[in-house]
Protein backbone atom coordinates (compact mmCIF):
# COMPACT_ATOMS: atom_id res chain seq x y z
CA UNK A 1 0.00 0.00 0.00
CA UNK A 2 2.04 2.92 1.13
CA UNK A 3 5.40 3.55 -0.41
CA UNK A 4 8.64 2.29 1.09
CA UNK A 5 11.10 5.09 1.94
CA UNK A 6 13.91 3.13 3.53
CA UNK A 7 14.59 -0.51 2.89
CA UNK A 8 17.23 -2.54 4.71
CA UNK A 9 17.97 -6.12 3.66
CA UNK A 10 20.15 -8.72 5.36
CA UNK A 11 22.29 -6.30 7.37
CA UNK A 12 25.02 -8.07 9.29
CA UNK A 13 27.70 -6.60 11.54
CA UNK A 14 29.66 -8.24 14.34
CA UNK A 15 32.06 -6.60 16.78
CA UNK A 16 34.40 -9.38 17.76
CA UNK A 17 31.99 -12.13 18.76
CA UNK A 18 29.03 -9.86 19.43
CA UNK A 19 26.46 -9.83 16.64
CA UNK A 20 25.08 -6.28 16.62
CA UNK A 21 23.20 -6.98 13.42
CA UNK A 22 22.42 -10.56 12.47
CA UNK A 23 20.30 -10.31 9.36
CA UNK A 24 18.19 -7.18 9.72
CA UNK A 25 15.35 -6.79 7.17
CA UNK A 26 13.21 -3.70 7.60
CA UNK A 27 11.06 -1.49 5.39
CA UNK A 28 10.17 1.97 6.65
CA UNK A 29 7.07 3.40 4.99
CA UNK A 30 6.57 6.94 3.83
CA UNK A 31 5.19 9.20 6.58
CA UNK A 32 5.04 6.63 9.36
CA UNK A 33 6.42 6.85 12.90
CA UNK A 34 8.26 3.64 13.58
CA UNK A 35 9.44 2.83 17.09
CA UNK A 36 12.37 0.51 17.75
CA UNK A 37 12.33 -1.20 21.12
CA UNK A 38 14.46 -3.87 22.73
CA UNK A 39 16.99 -4.44 25.48
CA UNK A 40 20.32 -2.64 25.66
CA UNK A 41 22.90 -4.21 23.39
CA UNK A 42 20.29 -5.56 20.97
CA UNK A 43 21.77 -3.46 18.16
CA UNK A 44 19.28 -0.60 17.95
CA UNK A 45 21.85 2.19 17.81
CA UNK A 46 23.96 0.06 15.48
CA UNK A 47 21.05 0.08 13.02
CA UNK A 48 20.92 3.87 13.12
CA UNK A 49 24.69 4.09 12.77
CA UNK A 50 24.63 1.82 9.73
CA UNK A 51 21.79 3.74 8.10
CA UNK A 52 23.56 7.08 8.59
CA UNK A 53 26.89 5.85 7.22
CA UNK A 54 28.72 5.92 10.53
CA UNK A 55 29.20 2.15 10.62
CA UNK A 56 29.49 -0.09 7.60
CA UNK A 57 27.71 -3.45 7.74
CA UNK A 58 29.69 -6.52 6.71
CA UNK A 59 26.82 -7.73 4.57
CA UNK A 60 23.43 -6.55 3.33
CA UNK A 61 22.07 -3.53 1.51
CA UNK A 62 20.23 -0.33 2.38
CA UNK A 63 18.14 1.59 -0.10
CA UNK A 64 16.75 5.03 0.47
CA UNK A 65 14.14 6.35 -1.95
CA UNK A 66 14.94 3.40 -4.19
CA UNK A 67 18.68 4.14 -4.38
CA UNK A 68 21.48 2.28 -2.55
CA UNK A 69 23.18 4.38 0.10
CA UNK A 70 25.56 1.84 1.56
CA UNK A 71 29.16 3.01 1.46
CA UNK A 72 28.27 6.69 1.30
CA UNK A 73 29.80 8.99 3.92
CA UNK A 74 27.60 10.38 6.72
CA UNK A 75 27.79 13.73 4.95
CA UNK A 76 26.55 12.36 1.65
CA UNK A 77 23.73 10.51 3.37
CA UNK A 78 22.62 13.67 5.15
CA UNK A 79 22.54 15.42 1.80
CA UNK A 80 20.23 12.69 0.47
CA UNK A 81 17.72 13.55 3.19
CA UNK A 82 18.38 11.31 6.19
CA UNK A 83 18.74 13.29 9.41
CA UNK A 84 19.56 11.95 12.85
CA UNK A 85 19.56 13.00 16.47
CA UNK A 86 21.71 11.51 19.18
CA UNK A 87 21.23 9.70 22.46
CA UNK A 88 23.77 12.11 23.93
CA UNK A 89 22.82 15.47 22.40
CA UNK A 90 25.57 16.65 20.04
CA UNK A 91 25.35 20.42 20.39
CA UNK A 92 28.04 23.01 19.84
CA UNK A 93 28.43 23.55 23.55
CA UNK A 94 30.15 26.94 23.40
CA UNK A 95 27.59 28.40 20.96
CA UNK A 96 24.19 29.75 21.97
CA UNK A 97 21.11 27.67 21.23
CA UNK A 98 20.14 30.22 18.56
CA UNK A 99 23.54 29.86 16.91
CA UNK A 100 23.23 26.09 17.00
CA UNK A 101 19.89 26.33 15.20
CA UNK A 102 21.17 28.95 12.77
CA UNK A 103 24.21 26.81 11.94
CA UNK A 104 21.95 23.90 11.11
CA UNK A 105 19.88 26.15 8.85
CA UNK A 106 23.10 27.46 7.32
CA UNK A 107 24.25 23.90 6.76
CA UNK A 108 21.20 23.33 4.58
CA UNK A 109 21.49 26.65 2.75
CA UNK A 110 25.27 26.46 2.33
CA UNK A 111 27.74 27.76 4.87
CA UNK A 112 30.33 28.96 2.38
CA UNK A 113 29.95 32.68 2.92
CA UNK A 114 32.91 33.90 4.93
CA UNK A 115 31.89 37.52 5.42
CA UNK A 116 28.15 37.78 6.03
CA UNK A 117 27.08 37.13 9.62
CA UNK A 118 25.54 33.82 10.62
CA UNK A 119 22.83 35.70 12.49
CA UNK A 120 21.83 37.90 9.56
CA UNK A 121 18.21 38.99 10.10
CA UNK A 122 16.56 36.46 7.79
CA UNK A 123 18.43 33.48 9.21
CA UNK A 124 17.97 34.75 12.71
CA UNK A 125 14.20 34.90 12.22
CA UNK A 126 14.16 31.48 10.68
CA UNK A 127 16.21 30.05 13.54
CA UNK A 128 13.90 31.75 16.05
CA UNK A 129 10.86 30.25 14.32
CA UNK A 130 12.43 26.82 14.52
CA UNK A 131 13.19 27.24 18.23
CA UNK A 132 9.67 28.54 18.73
CA UNK A 133 8.15 25.39 17.27
CA UNK A 134 10.21 23.34 19.70
CA UNK A 135 9.32 25.60 22.62
CA UNK A 136 12.92 26.76 22.99
CA UNK A 137 12.52 30.48 22.34
CA UNK A 138 13.12 31.35 25.97
CA UNK A 139 16.55 29.75 26.01
CA UNK A 140 17.63 31.00 22.57
CA UNK A 141 20.40 33.19 23.96
CA UNK A 142 21.71 30.64 26.50
CA UNK A 143 24.88 28.73 25.85
CA UNK A 144 24.03 25.20 24.76
CA UNK A 145 25.93 23.63 27.65
CA UNK A 146 23.79 25.57 30.16
CA UNK A 147 20.52 23.82 29.19
CA UNK A 148 18.81 21.03 31.08
CA UNK A 149 18.72 17.59 29.49
CA UNK A 150 15.18 17.90 28.10
CA UNK A 151 15.95 21.16 26.33
CA UNK A 152 19.24 19.77 25.04
CA UNK A 153 17.40 16.80 23.56
CA UNK A 154 14.89 19.07 21.84
CA UNK A 155 17.62 21.37 20.54
CA UNK A 156 19.47 18.35 19.20
CA UNK A 157 16.39 17.19 17.32
CA UNK A 158 15.61 20.73 16.18
CA UNK A 159 19.02 20.85 14.51
CA UNK A 160 18.28 17.64 12.66
CA UNK A 161 14.84 18.95 11.61
CA UNK A 162 16.42 22.21 10.38
CA UNK A 163 18.10 20.20 7.64
CA UNK A 164 14.59 19.31 6.37
CA UNK A 165 15.22 15.58 6.06
CA UNK A 166 12.62 13.27 4.61
CA UNK A 167 13.64 10.58 7.11
CA UNK A 168 14.58 11.38 10.70
CA UNK A 169 16.29 8.81 12.91
CA UNK A 170 16.13 9.57 16.63
CA UNK A 171 18.22 7.64 19.15
CA UNK A 172 16.34 7.59 22.47
CA UNK A 173 14.80 11.07 22.26
CA UNK A 174 13.52 10.87 25.85
CA UNK A 175 16.31 9.05 27.67
CA UNK A 176 17.84 10.96 30.55
CA UNK A 177 14.86 13.28 30.72
CA UNK A 178 12.92 13.71 33.97
CA UNK A 179 9.70 11.66 33.95
CA UNK A 180 7.52 14.74 34.33
CA UNK A 181 9.05 16.33 31.24
CA UNK A 182 8.87 13.25 29.10
CA UNK A 183 5.34 13.47 27.72
CA UNK A 184 5.68 17.20 27.13
CA UNK A 185 8.75 16.58 25.05
CA UNK A 186 7.17 13.78 23.10
CA UNK A 187 4.04 15.79 22.41
CA UNK A 188 6.10 18.73 21.20
CA UNK A 189 8.06 16.38 18.99
CA UNK A 190 5.06 14.66 17.50
CA UNK A 191 3.33 17.98 16.83
CA UNK A 192 6.39 19.41 15.02
CA UNK A 193 7.17 16.23 13.13
CA UNK A 194 3.57 15.67 11.97
CA UNK A 195 3.47 19.25 10.70
CA UNK A 196 6.58 18.69 8.56
CA UNK A 197 5.38 15.37 7.19
CA UNK A 198 8.72 13.75 7.94
CA UNK A 199 9.05 10.00 8.32
CA UNK A 200 10.49 9.15 11.73
CA UNK A 201 12.23 6.16 13.25
CA UNK A 202 12.92 6.37 16.95
CA UNK A 203 14.56 4.13 19.50
CA UNK A 204 12.55 4.25 22.71
CA UNK A 205 12.52 2.50 26.06
CA UNK A 206 9.29 3.97 27.43
CA UNK A 207 6.38 1.75 26.38
CA UNK A 208 3.78 4.45 27.15
CA UNK A 209 5.50 6.74 24.67
CA UNK A 210 5.64 3.93 22.12
CA UNK A 211 2.02 2.98 22.59
CA UNK A 212 0.84 6.54 22.18
CA UNK A 213 2.86 7.80 19.27
CA UNK A 214 4.20 4.97 17.14
CA UNK A 215 2.36 3.76 14.04
CA UNK A 216 4.40 0.57 14.08
CA UNK A 217 6.83 -1.05 16.47
CA UNK A 218 9.89 -3.12 15.64
CA UNK A 219 11.24 -5.30 18.43
CA UNK A 220 15.01 -5.79 18.41
CA UNK A 221 16.59 -8.80 20.06
CA UNK A 222 20.20 -9.90 19.72
CA UNK A 223 20.75 -8.24 16.39
CA UNK A 224 17.49 -9.50 14.85
CA UNK A 225 13.97 -8.19 14.51
CA UNK A 226 11.86 -10.39 16.78
CA UNK A 227 8.49 -8.79 16.02
CA UNK A 228 7.06 -6.03 13.84
CA UNK A 229 3.58 -4.54 13.71
CA UNK A 230 1.13 -2.03 15.17
CA UNK A 231 1.83 -1.22 18.84
CA UNK A 232 -1.45 -2.70 20.04
CA UNK A 233 -0.56 -6.07 18.58
CA UNK A 234 3.16 -6.20 19.30
CA UNK A 235 3.03 -4.85 22.83
CA UNK A 236 0.28 -7.33 23.71
CA UNK A 237 2.29 -10.32 22.50
CA UNK A 238 3.15 -12.33 25.65
CA UNK A 239 6.53 -13.38 24.29
CA UNK A 240 7.50 -9.78 23.58
CA UNK A 241 6.17 -8.73 26.98
CA UNK A 242 8.20 -11.37 28.77
CA UNK A 243 11.44 -11.25 26.82
CA UNK A 244 11.78 -7.68 25.71
CA UNK A 245 9.63 -5.32 27.67
CA UNK A 246 10.46 -7.07 30.91
CA UNK A 247 14.14 -6.59 30.34
CA UNK A 248 13.72 -3.08 28.99
CA UNK A 249 11.71 -2.03 32.01
CA UNK A 250 14.47 -3.19 34.29
CA UNK A 251 17.26 -1.65 32.21
Amino acid sequence: MSQVLLSAKGLRLAFGGVKAADGIDLDVRHGEFLAIIGPNGAGKTTFINMTTGYLRPQAGRIEFDGKPILGLSPRAIVRRGIGRSFQLPQLFSEHTVLENAALAIAARRGIWSPFTPLLRPRWRDEAMDLLDRFGLRAVAESRADALNEGARKLADIAMAVALEPSLLLMDEPTSGVAAAEKMVIVETLVRVLRSTGVTAVFVEHDMDVVARFADRVAVWSQGRIAALGPPGEVLADPKVRREVIGIAANA
Binding site: N49, Y54, L55, F86, Q90
Partner: protein, 311 residues
Protein backbone atom coordinates in the same frame (compact mmCIF):
# COMPACT_ATOMS: atom_id res chain seq x y z
CA UNK B 1 73.06 0.23 -10.40
CA UNK B 2 75.41 -2.63 -9.54
CA UNK B 3 78.49 -0.49 -10.02
CA UNK B 4 76.95 2.28 -7.92
CA UNK B 5 76.56 -0.14 -5.04
CA UNK B 6 80.11 -1.40 -5.52
CA UNK B 7 81.49 2.13 -5.50
CA UNK B 8 79.49 3.22 -2.51
CA UNK B 9 79.49 0.05 -0.46
CA UNK B 10 81.69 1.61 2.18
CA UNK B 11 79.41 4.60 2.63
CA UNK B 12 76.34 2.38 2.61
CA UNK B 13 77.88 0.15 5.23
CA UNK B 14 78.62 3.14 7.40
CA UNK B 15 75.09 4.44 6.88
CA UNK B 16 73.62 1.10 7.94
CA UNK B 17 75.73 0.95 11.10
CA UNK B 18 75.05 4.57 11.97
CA UNK B 19 71.38 4.10 11.25
CA UNK B 20 71.15 1.19 13.64
CA UNK B 21 72.80 3.16 16.45
CA UNK B 22 70.58 6.16 15.67
CA UNK B 23 67.44 4.08 15.62
CA UNK B 24 68.30 2.62 19.02
CA UNK B 25 68.44 6.10 20.56
CA UNK B 26 65.31 7.39 18.86
CA UNK B 27 63.45 4.29 19.96
CA UNK B 28 64.31 4.90 23.63
CA UNK B 29 62.75 8.35 23.45
CA UNK B 30 59.78 7.38 21.29
CA UNK B 31 58.80 4.44 23.47
CA UNK B 32 58.72 6.66 26.56
CA UNK B 33 56.61 9.22 24.72
CA UNK B 34 54.22 6.44 23.71
CA UNK B 35 53.96 4.98 27.19
CA UNK B 36 53.26 8.36 28.78
CA UNK B 37 50.63 9.12 26.15
CA UNK B 38 48.96 5.79 26.81
CA UNK B 39 48.37 6.51 30.48
CA UNK B 40 48.17 10.32 30.64
CA UNK B 41 46.54 10.90 27.24
CA UNK B 42 49.00 13.77 26.90
CA UNK B 43 51.73 13.89 24.29
CA UNK B 44 54.45 15.61 26.24
CA UNK B 45 56.10 18.21 24.01
CA UNK B 46 58.85 18.58 26.64
CA UNK B 47 59.79 14.92 26.30
CA UNK B 48 62.73 15.78 24.01
CA UNK B 49 64.07 18.20 26.61
CA UNK B 50 64.31 15.29 29.06
CA UNK B 51 66.47 13.54 26.48
CA UNK B 52 68.70 16.62 26.26
CA UNK B 53 68.93 17.09 30.01
CA UNK B 54 69.71 13.41 30.44
CA UNK B 55 72.54 13.78 27.94
CA UNK B 56 73.98 16.87 29.61
CA UNK B 57 73.70 15.37 33.08
CA UNK B 58 75.42 12.17 32.00
CA UNK B 59 78.26 14.16 30.42
CA UNK B 60 78.65 16.28 33.56
CA UNK B 61 78.72 13.30 35.89
CA UNK B 62 81.14 11.52 33.57
CA UNK B 63 83.47 14.52 33.46
CA UNK B 64 83.26 14.82 37.23
CA UNK B 65 84.21 11.15 37.67
CA UNK B 66 87.05 11.52 35.21
CA UNK B 67 88.35 14.61 37.03
CA UNK B 68 88.37 12.59 40.25
CA UNK B 69 90.55 10.02 38.58
CA UNK B 70 87.94 7.24 38.76
CA UNK B 71 88.42 4.29 36.38
CA UNK B 72 86.96 4.75 32.87
CA UNK B 73 84.25 2.11 33.29
CA UNK B 74 82.70 4.45 35.83
CA UNK B 75 81.59 6.41 32.73
CA UNK B 76 78.84 3.81 32.33
CA UNK B 77 77.77 4.31 35.91
CA UNK B 78 77.49 8.00 35.07
CA UNK B 79 75.08 7.22 32.20
CA UNK B 80 72.80 5.14 34.39
CA UNK B 81 73.00 7.60 37.29
CA UNK B 82 71.90 10.44 35.04
CA UNK B 83 68.90 8.53 33.71
CA UNK B 84 67.80 7.42 37.15
CA UNK B 85 68.25 10.91 38.58
CA UNK B 86 66.13 12.57 35.86
CA UNK B 87 63.46 9.90 36.09
CA UNK B 88 63.31 10.04 39.87
CA UNK B 89 63.58 13.80 40.38
CA UNK B 90 62.40 15.69 37.31
CA UNK B 91 59.70 13.17 36.42
CA UNK B 92 57.68 13.36 39.64
CA UNK B 93 58.30 17.10 39.87
CA UNK B 94 56.78 17.79 36.45
CA UNK B 95 53.89 15.38 36.95
CA UNK B 96 52.97 16.56 40.43
CA UNK B 97 53.45 20.30 40.03
CA UNK B 98 52.26 20.80 36.48
CA UNK B 99 50.56 18.01 34.60
CA UNK B 100 48.30 17.04 37.49
CA UNK B 101 46.61 20.42 37.19
CA UNK B 102 45.52 19.88 33.62
CA UNK B 103 44.25 16.30 33.35
CA UNK B 104 40.88 16.27 31.63
CA UNK B 105 41.23 19.85 30.42
CA UNK B 106 40.84 20.83 26.79
CA UNK B 107 43.42 19.22 24.52
CA UNK B 108 44.69 22.54 23.30
CA UNK B 109 45.37 23.63 26.86
CA UNK B 110 47.34 20.50 27.67
CA UNK B 111 49.36 21.00 24.52
CA UNK B 112 50.16 24.58 25.42
CA UNK B 113 51.20 23.68 28.94
CA UNK B 114 53.71 21.03 27.86
CA UNK B 115 54.90 23.39 25.13
CA UNK B 116 55.52 26.08 27.77
CA UNK B 117 57.42 23.51 29.80
CA UNK B 118 59.46 22.72 26.71
CA UNK B 119 60.36 26.41 26.29
CA UNK B 120 61.44 26.57 29.93
CA UNK B 121 63.54 23.40 29.89
CA UNK B 122 65.31 24.42 26.69
CA UNK B 123 66.66 27.50 28.46
CA UNK B 124 67.40 25.62 31.67
CA UNK B 125 69.94 23.70 29.60
CA UNK B 126 71.52 26.92 28.37
CA UNK B 127 71.68 28.37 31.87
CA UNK B 128 73.20 25.28 33.44
CA UNK B 129 75.50 24.05 30.66
CA UNK B 130 76.04 27.16 28.52
CA UNK B 131 75.93 27.31 24.74
CA UNK B 132 79.42 25.90 24.09
CA UNK B 133 79.48 22.26 22.99
CA UNK B 134 79.91 19.78 25.86
CA UNK B 135 81.33 16.37 25.18
CA UNK B 136 82.43 13.37 27.16
CA UNK B 137 83.26 10.33 25.07
CA UNK B 138 85.05 8.17 27.64
CA UNK B 139 82.47 5.33 27.42
CA UNK B 140 82.92 5.34 23.65
CA UNK B 141 86.72 5.13 23.79
CA UNK B 142 86.72 2.60 26.60
CA UNK B 143 85.32 -0.19 24.42
CA UNK B 144 87.43 0.67 21.41
CA UNK B 145 86.50 -0.16 17.82
CA UNK B 146 85.64 -3.27 15.89
CA UNK B 147 86.78 -3.84 12.31
CA UNK B 148 83.87 -4.82 10.16
CA UNK B 149 84.62 -6.20 6.71
CA UNK B 150 82.50 -4.68 3.95
CA UNK B 151 83.38 -6.22 0.62
CA UNK B 152 87.02 -5.39 0.13
CA UNK B 153 86.98 -2.60 2.68
CA UNK B 154 87.11 -2.69 6.42
CA UNK B 155 85.07 -0.27 8.49
CA UNK B 156 86.35 0.46 11.96
CA UNK B 157 83.22 1.14 14.03
CA UNK B 158 82.97 1.81 17.75
CA UNK B 159 81.91 -1.19 19.76
CA UNK B 160 79.76 1.16 21.83
CA UNK B 161 77.58 2.13 18.88
CA UNK B 162 77.65 -1.33 17.39
CA UNK B 163 76.76 -3.37 20.48
CA UNK B 164 75.84 -1.23 23.47
CA UNK B 165 73.25 1.07 21.91
CA UNK B 166 71.27 -1.52 19.90
CA UNK B 167 71.71 -3.98 22.77
CA UNK B 168 70.17 -1.68 25.34
CA UNK B 169 67.36 -0.73 22.97
CA UNK B 170 66.60 -4.41 22.40
CA UNK B 171 66.68 -5.13 26.12
CA UNK B 172 64.35 -2.17 26.68
CA UNK B 173 61.94 -3.42 24.03
CA UNK B 174 61.86 -6.98 25.33
CA UNK B 175 61.88 -5.91 28.96
CA UNK B 176 59.03 -3.48 28.44
CA UNK B 177 56.95 -6.01 26.53
CA UNK B 178 57.54 -8.53 29.32
CA UNK B 179 56.85 -5.97 32.04
CA UNK B 180 53.57 -4.77 30.51
CA UNK B 181 52.26 -8.24 29.72
CA UNK B 182 53.57 -10.39 32.54
CA UNK B 183 53.90 -8.35 35.72
CA UNK B 184 51.10 -7.08 37.92
CA UNK B 185 52.21 -3.44 37.75
CA UNK B 186 52.50 -3.76 33.99
CA UNK B 187 48.99 -5.21 33.68
CA UNK B 188 47.70 -2.39 35.85
CA UNK B 189 49.34 0.20 33.57
CA UNK B 190 47.74 -1.46 30.55
CA UNK B 191 44.39 -1.48 32.35
CA UNK B 192 44.64 2.25 33.04
CA UNK B 193 45.61 2.85 29.42
CA UNK B 194 42.63 0.92 28.11
CA UNK B 195 39.97 2.30 30.42
CA UNK B 196 40.90 4.67 33.20
CA UNK B 197 37.42 4.86 34.68
CA UNK B 198 36.95 1.13 34.88
CA UNK B 199 40.43 0.71 36.35
CA UNK B 200 39.72 3.30 39.02
CA UNK B 201 36.41 1.68 39.80
CA UNK B 202 38.27 -1.60 40.35
CA UNK B 203 40.30 0.10 43.08
CA UNK B 204 43.43 0.89 41.11
CA UNK B 205 45.21 3.99 42.37
CA UNK B 206 45.30 5.77 39.01
CA UNK B 207 47.15 8.79 40.41
CA UNK B 208 50.02 6.58 41.55
CA UNK B 209 50.19 4.71 38.25
CA UNK B 210 50.22 8.02 36.40
CA UNK B 211 53.10 9.32 38.49
CA UNK B 212 54.99 6.08 38.06
CA UNK B 213 54.48 5.90 34.32
CA UNK B 214 55.43 9.50 33.71
CA UNK B 215 58.59 9.17 35.77
CA UNK B 216 59.47 5.93 34.01
CA UNK B 217 58.90 7.55 30.60
CA UNK B 218 61.02 10.53 31.64
CA UNK B 219 63.72 8.12 32.78
CA UNK B 220 63.65 6.35 29.39
CA UNK B 221 64.05 9.66 27.56
CA UNK B 222 66.91 10.61 29.89
CA UNK B 223 68.51 7.20 29.39
CA UNK B 224 68.29 7.74 25.63
CA UNK B 225 70.03 11.07 26.09
CA UNK B 226 72.63 9.65 28.43
CA UNK B 227 73.42 6.86 25.99
CA UNK B 228 73.63 9.37 23.15
CA UNK B 229 75.94 11.72 25.05
CA UNK B 230 79.24 9.92 24.31
CA UNK B 231 78.46 10.02 20.57
CA UNK B 232 77.48 13.67 20.33
CA UNK B 233 78.81 17.13 21.02
CA UNK B 234 75.96 18.50 23.11
CA UNK B 235 74.63 21.87 21.97
CA UNK B 236 71.36 23.75 22.59
CA UNK B 237 68.59 22.64 20.28
CA UNK B 238 69.00 18.85 20.52
CA UNK B 239 65.86 18.71 22.65
CA UNK B 240 63.76 20.30 19.90
CA UNK B 241 65.21 17.98 17.27
CA UNK B 242 64.62 14.95 19.44
CA UNK B 243 60.98 15.63 20.24
CA UNK B 244 60.05 16.20 16.62
CA UNK B 245 61.99 13.16 15.50
CA UNK B 246 60.53 10.88 18.16
CA UNK B 247 57.08 12.26 17.48
CA UNK B 248 57.64 11.40 13.83
CA UNK B 249 58.43 7.84 14.90
CA UNK B 250 55.36 7.60 17.13
CA UNK B 251 53.06 9.09 14.51
CA UNK B 252 54.44 6.89 11.74
CA UNK B 253 54.14 3.76 13.88
CA UNK B 254 50.72 4.69 15.29
CA UNK B 255 50.09 5.89 18.82
CA UNK B 256 50.43 3.23 21.50
CA UNK B 257 52.47 0.74 19.47
CA UNK B 258 55.68 -0.43 21.16
CA UNK B 259 57.04 -3.06 18.78
CA UNK B 260 55.81 -0.94 15.90
CA UNK B 261 57.75 2.02 17.26
CA UNK B 262 60.91 -0.11 17.27
CA UNK B 263 60.52 -1.06 13.60
CA UNK B 264 59.64 2.48 12.64
CA UNK B 265 62.62 3.86 14.57
CA UNK B 266 64.78 1.51 12.53
CA UNK B 267 63.18 2.66 9.28
CA UNK B 268 63.55 6.33 10.11
CA UNK B 269 67.03 5.93 11.66
CA UNK B 270 68.29 4.18 8.53
CA UNK B 271 66.61 6.67 6.21
CA UNK B 272 68.21 9.51 8.07
CA UNK B 273 71.71 8.09 8.15
CA UNK B 274 71.59 7.21 4.46
CA UNK B 275 70.71 10.86 3.85
CA UNK B 276 73.64 11.94 6.03
CA UNK B 277 76.07 10.12 3.75
CA UNK B 278 74.50 10.74 0.38
CA UNK B 279 72.53 14.01 0.60
CA UNK B 280 73.50 15.78 3.82
CA UNK B 281 71.33 18.82 3.05
CA UNK B 282 68.27 16.62 3.36
CA UNK B 283 69.19 14.84 6.57
CA UNK B 284 66.47 16.59 8.54
CA UNK B 285 63.91 16.23 5.76
CA UNK B 286 64.03 12.46 5.29
CA UNK B 287 62.30 11.38 8.55
CA UNK B 288 59.37 13.67 7.81
CA UNK B 289 59.17 12.58 4.21
CA UNK B 290 58.83 9.02 5.49
CA UNK B 291 56.25 10.13 8.03
CA UNK B 292 54.15 12.12 5.56
CA UNK B 293 54.34 9.33 3.00
CA UNK B 294 53.12 6.79 5.55
CA UNK B 295 50.40 9.02 6.96
CA UNK B 296 49.06 9.84 3.50
CA UNK B 297 48.47 6.14 2.89
CA UNK B 298 47.63 5.11 6.47
CA UNK B 299 46.41 8.05 8.57
CA UNK B 300 46.43 5.88 11.71
CA UNK B 301 50.12 4.98 11.23
CA UNK B 302 51.82 1.79 10.06
CA UNK B 303 50.74 -0.32 13.02
CA UNK B 304 47.95 1.82 14.48
CA UNK B 305 44.35 0.74 14.80
CA UNK B 306 41.50 3.09 13.99
CA UNK B 307 39.67 4.17 17.11
CA UNK B 308 35.95 4.55 16.57
CA UNK B 309 34.45 7.56 18.24
CA UNK B 310 31.33 7.03 20.28
CA UNK B 311 28.20 8.89 19.29
Amino acid sequence: MGTWFAENSLLLGLALLDGLANAALVFMVAVGLNLVFGVLRIVNVAHGSLFAIGAYTAASIGLFFAARGLPPWMGYVALVLAAVAIGAVLGPLIERLLLRRIYGHEDVLQLLVTFALFMILEDVQKLVWGVQPVSQDAPLRFLGTVDIPFGEDVIPFTAYQLFVLPGIALVTLLGLAWFLRRTLTGRVIVAVTTDKEAATAMGIDAARITLLTFSFGAGLAALGGALASPTLALVPGIGAQTIVLSFAVVATAGLGQIEGAALTALLIGLGRSIAVYFAPEFEVVVPYLIMVAVLLVRPQGLFGVIETRRV
